[in-house]
């Protein structure tokens, strides 16, 4: 029962915050609501018993990426942008298309559920007591099977760091 309450709480918070992210006029308000949405996602990870991912989400996404966003919003003077129209001229067309895409995907889920045997979608999830500690599992997998993507990810971060510094430097 606790799982149900937690899922609906974090899920509802995530969806509500996401709606507020895309509708605010003030970019800092959007950023604060995105922080809430990311924290709700982290809560969902915790509810799925993926505690290492929960903490990685908080440290990297909330503590790193969103701080970067807020820095940039404060360095860029958005007063002029705030007084302009916030949405595209034909926003209802594009919005409708996006909703249509979402509905299409939902229809795919629905038909998949109809056609696959019910046991797939009602599969018993491993009970919580039998789960191994999440951090150990992730650590072992990351350093044995997924060593190459790990190293490539670190090179990617190095390249991104250099690129961002070069792009944002002032030409003296």
């Amino acid at each position: 029962m606790a799982d149900t309450i937690l899922f609906y709480f974090f899920g509802g918070l995530a969806v509500l915050s996401a709606i507020l992210v895309v509708t605010r006029r003030n970019a800092v308000h959007s950023a604060v609501f995105l922080v809430t949405a990311l924290l709700a996602t982290a809560g969902l990870f915790l509810q799925l018993r993926a505690e290492f991912l929960f903490i990685v989400q908080v440290i990297l996404y909330v503590g790193g990426i969103m701080v970067l966003f807020i820095f940039v919003i404060m360095l860029v003077n958005l007063d002029v942008a705030m007084r302009q129209a916030q949405f595209n001229r034909a926003w209802y067309v594009w919005g409708l298309l996006a909703v249509a895409m979402g509905a299409q995907v939902y229809v795919v889920f629905h038909y998949a559920r109809m056609q696959t045997s019910a046991s797939f979608f009602n599969q018993a999830v491993a009970p919580v007591e039998q789960l191994e500690p999440n951090t150990q599992l992730v650590g072992q997998a990351l350093f044995s099977t997924y060593m190459l993507p790990f190293e490539i990810a670190s090179i990617l971060l190095l390249v991104a760091m250099i690129g961002a510094v070069v792009m944002a430097k002032k030409r003296v």
Binding site: M1, A2, N26, V28, H29, V32, V35, E51, F52, F54, I55, V56, V58, I59, V62, G63, G64, M66, V67, I70, F71, M74, L75, P133, N134, T135
Partner: protein
């Protein structure tokens, strides 16, 4: 139905009690750390500090809190009201939340997360939002600059602090805070002996993390007034202040848990060190005796009474600390010993760590901002990387041959690590030092 509800809530009762105790006591303790700071500052400046409000200034924090609560609440014109309200809340919430995974005793812990130490790092990142949003919401250029400077400093030193923590974690082998203290009990030594470089790195990084001197440029009065806190007054400022001192307690608690043995007494497993068990109550009796001695010399009657009250309190604490030691072995009193004495030793270590903070504040001049950032990025991060590498190699060398190591004794491996890290630190210091420009001789 009712018993199902009771079953649902039963595991949450003790954590709730602990949480209420922490939320009630931590602001009080933070206030008294402010008083301690003023007294230590006064002592180092050859004066007395607050003496007037209570005996020896003991009621000063209460007077300060009352004043701040009763001040007028001013919001700057053009400030973003919603975020102006939210920012101090974020700081205080992050600081208080971090208290939830810290083991104050074998039982006194709100939540034992599997990823406790990482949780503390993550909450440290959350605290940055309080600063950045507070500076932005004040609608003032100087507040914004102070906030950006402060958060840039925090982000820079977070990496070094994290890697310093990792070097201590490698000896513990686990991320959970309770298990880390247990690991220090099992391996018969506090981890700062195993990872001294990590401990000192964390000491420096945590001073920068809490915006304390000598890294307090963003909030020093002679700089951008008070940085991000400038436009806040009254209770909102009190919340920021509380958040800063609670953060100090949190980083001291992290260092204590990870490096200084948490709630363990010195030499926890050794039988010959049993005399350490008598130290807490002797200390309390000493303080009570000193209060009774000084009481007749107070100028005012009410201060005499408060002194006697403090003496009584210390005597009561001495009795509480003495009961488990003198209770017969196996009784319920003796079972309480790790809990009660654990809290005392934990507080003692936190106070020692914070005393180093206060000592440094009044001894060392402030760093300029570019020196500060250069120290963080060019000096601390390379050293912390070398330290983590070295500790990894030391543990590999130490592991017995069956587990894939070489079986070297731990001390030899650790000494090698320390020497390697010190060599790198010396090289970096030489490389980073700026040579003063030679003065041109004046031509007559």
């Amino acid at each position: 139905m009712l018993d199902r509800l009771i079953e649902f809530f039963k595991p949450h009762v003790w954590p709730l009690v602990f949480a209420i105790v922490i939320v009630a006591l931590v602001p009080l303790i933070a206030g008294y750390i402010v008083l301690l700071e003023r007294k230590v500052m006064a002592d180092m400046q050859a004066r007395l500090g607050p003496m007037r409000v209570g005996p020896h200034g003991l009621l000063q924090p209460i007077a300060d809190a009352l004043k701040l609560l009763l001040k007028e609440d001013i919001i700057p014109d053009g400030a973003d009201k919603w975020i102006f309200w939210l920012a101090p809340l974020l700081s205080v919430t992050a600081a208080m939340l971090a208290m939830s995974v810290i083991p104050f005793g074998p039982v006194f812990q709100i939540a034992d997360l599997n990823v406790g130490i990482l949780f503390l790092l993550g909450i440290g990142s959350m605290g940055i939002y309080g600063i950045v949003l507070g500076g932005w919401a004040s609608n003032s250029h100087y507040s914004l600059l102070g906030a950006l400077r402060s958060s840039a400093q925090l982000v820079s030193y977070e990496t070094a602090a994290g890697m310093a923590i990792v070097s201590g974690l490698m000896f513990g082998g686990t991320l959970s805070t309770r298990a880390l203290v247990q690991a220090q009990l099992d391996s018969h030594m506090w981890f700062f002996i195993c990872a001294p470089i990590g401990f000192f790195l964390y000491l420096v990084a945590s001073i920068a993390e809490t915006n304390r001197a000598p890294f307090d440029l963003p909030e020093a009065e002679s700089e951008l007034v008070a940085g991000y806190m400038t436009e806040y007054s009254g209770f909102r400022w009190a919340l920021y202040f509380l958040a800063e001192y609670t953060n100090m307690i949190v980083v001291a608690s992290i260092a204590t848990t990870l490096f200084l043995g948490g709630w363990l007494r010195p030499f926890p497993n050794a039988g010959w060190a049993g005399f350490f068990d008598y130290i807490p109550m002797l200390l309390m009796l000493l303080v009570a005796g000193y209060c009774v001695y000084r009481a007749p010399k107070q100028p005012v009657q009410i201060q005499k009474l408060v002194m006697y009250g403090v003496a009584g309190l210390c005597a009561l604490l001495a009795i509480i600390l003495a009961l488990p030691v003198f209770g017969s072995a196996g009784s319920i009193l003796a079972a309480m010993k790790p809990g009660v004495h654990g809290a005392f030793w934990f507080l003692a270590k936190v106070t020692l760590y914070l005393y180093v903070f206060l000592w440094l504040r009044f001894t060392v001049p402030r760093y300029r901002f570019d020196q500060l950032m250069s120290l963080g990025w060019h000096f601390l991060i390379p050293i912390s990387i070398v330290n983590v590498l070295g500790v990894g190699i030391a543990l590999y060398l130490h592991r017995s041959v069956e587990e894939g190591g070489k079986g070297w004794p731990l001390a030899a491996s650790i000494i090698l690590t320390i020497l390697a890290t010190l060599a790198v630190a010396a090289w970096l210091a030489k490389r980073n030092e700026t040579k003063p420009a030679l003065a041109e001789p004046e031509k007559f």
